[in-house]
Symmetry: none
Subunit: 202 residues, 4 copies
Amino acid sequence: MKDSIQEQLIAARRNQIIDAATKVFAQKGFHPTTIRDIAREAGIADGTIYNYFENKTALILGILDRLNESDRRETDFGGFTEGDFRSYMKAYFRHRLTALKADNFEIFRVVISEVLVNQELRELYYRKIIEPTFTMAETYFQQWTEQYIVKPTNTRLAMRAISGMVLGLIVEYLMGDPILEAAWDELPDLLTAMIMGQEPHA
Amino acid sequence: MKDSIQEQLIAARRNQIIDAATKVFAQKGFHPTTIRDIAREAGIADGTIYNYFENKTALILGILDRLNESDRRETDFGGFTEGDFRSYMKAYFRHRLTALKADNFEIFRVVISEVLVNQELRELYYRKIIEPTFTMAETYFQQWTEQYIVKPTNTRLAMRAISGMVLGLIVEYLMGDPILEAAWDELPDLLTAMIMGQEPHA
Amino acid sequence: MKDSIQEQLIAARRNQIIDAATKVFAQKGFHPTTIRDIAREAGIADGTIYNYFENKTALILGILDRLNESDRRETDFGGFTEGDFRSYMKAYFRHRLTALKADNFEIFRVVISEVLVNQELRELYYRKIIEPTFTMAETYFQQWTEQYIVKPTNTRLAMRAISGMVLGLIVEYLMGDPILEAAWDELPDLLTAMIMGQEPHA
Amino acid sequence: MKDSIQEQLIAARRNQIIDAATKVFAQKGFHPTTIRDIAREAGIADGTIYNYFENKTALILGILDRLNESDRRETDFGGFTEGDFRSYMKAYFRHRLTALKADNFEIFRVVISEVLVNQELRELYYRKIIEPTFTMAETYFQQWTEQYIVKPTNTRLAMRAISGMVLGLIVEYLMGDPILEAAWDELPDLLTAMIMGQEPHA
DNA sequence: TATGAATGAGCATTCATTCAT
DNA sequence: CATGAATGAATGCTCATTCAT
């Protein structure tokens, strides 16, 4: 019982710190942000952060974890399993392309940048987020690729191509492309059309 | 005459430094690499680097410039302009996905990471590399999209989706995905098929 | 309560650092002295200095402040206000010429040198030390100049001439003049005689 | 003959460099000025400076020498030797207080600052400039002090007090005192009056 | 657990000076 | 003599991390 309260307190404090870290990292980037910046933003002392996170990198990990969790909570494509795969794709694109809108874009910029370059982070990110996502998605794609692509071994590659398209577009957006910024919302339809062919007219 | 020699000497030294920087950055990443590391690798004094580059960030710029130049030199899709767009696409995918193979992958990891997070770098990268590339490519895509996509205003978006797919796949590769690593060479065909539909059988 | 202790600790540490800085600056001068020199002399780490002073220049400011404070504490010419102006002058000269004796001379050398050349320092020095001193002294001089100098507007100039005489003598001393070194103690009487005329014999 | 031309060339180049150094030192101060700054201002290469001056400090010495020479050339108080000592004093004050006007003030600031703190410079400055000046002036003052001051041994001290007054006023001016700046031209008369008493009315 | 002062390794950058051309 | 590229020692300052209270 007591442990439970303890855990809740700890979780609350961790969240408080991750909130602060997310905010400041998003504003200033990872390297330019100091532990003191985060501590001040969280309204706590520098040293306190080290009671909850081993080091600065662990904060990025914490952010990743939480992004992942909230993503998993929001994501549910179960409804599309049967039947309309086109709708599923459109929903997937919309979800992925919208999820990072607003503030999230900036923290995503920082996270991607750091993950690319930090092996420890990268391995964790791959193992905890990318891999499970791919594995989970494989089922959905399987049935689709069976119809469209001859070699079924390519299912996994096709999946990666599609998720890569989304990721690449986000990166291009983060590079400051004005075209993407202006027409971001048109992407789900367009991407679906590109991948699945023109929507058959009734 | 003398100026020409001077310029050559300067260019040679710059290349020497960029070579060293590329190598060390690729090994250790941008931030962990010290100017001294690069100077040692280049076999020159620390201070000499500053006779050719304003600061550490300028080294990344130099690397970007050279990647860009060599890319432009290697790239020639002119032959595909007329006629077979499918071949053009396949060539494009193959070129893009191969260009960064080997050592280049590692420096690309570092460059992308830093560009994402450094505004000055990002703006230059966009202005000098991304934007011209898109502008140049627009012509090729125009004719294709005219046939496949109803709204011609989406040409630019489609281009970005396709280049984004490549970029995203590279990033996923850099994240350590074993599937991509194993089947990287199958991608050109697969991507072409995904975008353009199955190749029509004779 | 706790704050008071905190403040005392902070003040103590600041004093400890200023002591060290004064000592090392006096020995080696401002520019040749490194932060590490001061830290070692104070028996603390380099970084600790930056918890108490913004930068190296701020150390000079700290020294100035403390010189100023101790000067104010020692200085009290109130007793001479009424009556004997000649005694006042002599006391003034003696005080000014003695105050900097011993170690103080060397730190004064460094401080003057740096203040002359550092605008920020100069402005602060003028505003916090010179100006208040002149303003405060004006009252005393007023009554004297009323008697001796026709144009009362010149009071301020006369004050500056007299304080300048002291300052100039100190600078000449610091230049290494052996005559001044040998007869420094005779100056108060001499200067008084020069300014006020020979002492009337009873 | 050839040597003479050689010497003239060398002297000309030295002057060119000292001109540049004076200008840049006056603008930026000694330490913030780089050899390159001076070389650029002189329109020559960095290395050339080292053919004429041993090091950066030697440039200050060169400036001092030239200030001294031009001062000696301009200074001639011979006419006042006999007769009117009051006129002599006034001329002395006027000369000293005017000589450094305009640009000279700024270079004087830099020179004083550096001389105070650099022993080698200080000794040379004292030996070559201060000492000869005092020795030379002693004769003039002798006769005056004989009349006014009882102890003739104090002649030298009185001289130093008076020259110190000038020096101190200049330093106070350099500290940024607005009163002195506004009424600088009134000083010769005032100082004379302070030292010699009110001018006797006919 | 919270604090925040102390730590000190670490690094980009500068610049006086040298010397081969 | 002039040049200016190369040198590399030297240093102020930052900041992640620790730990006594």
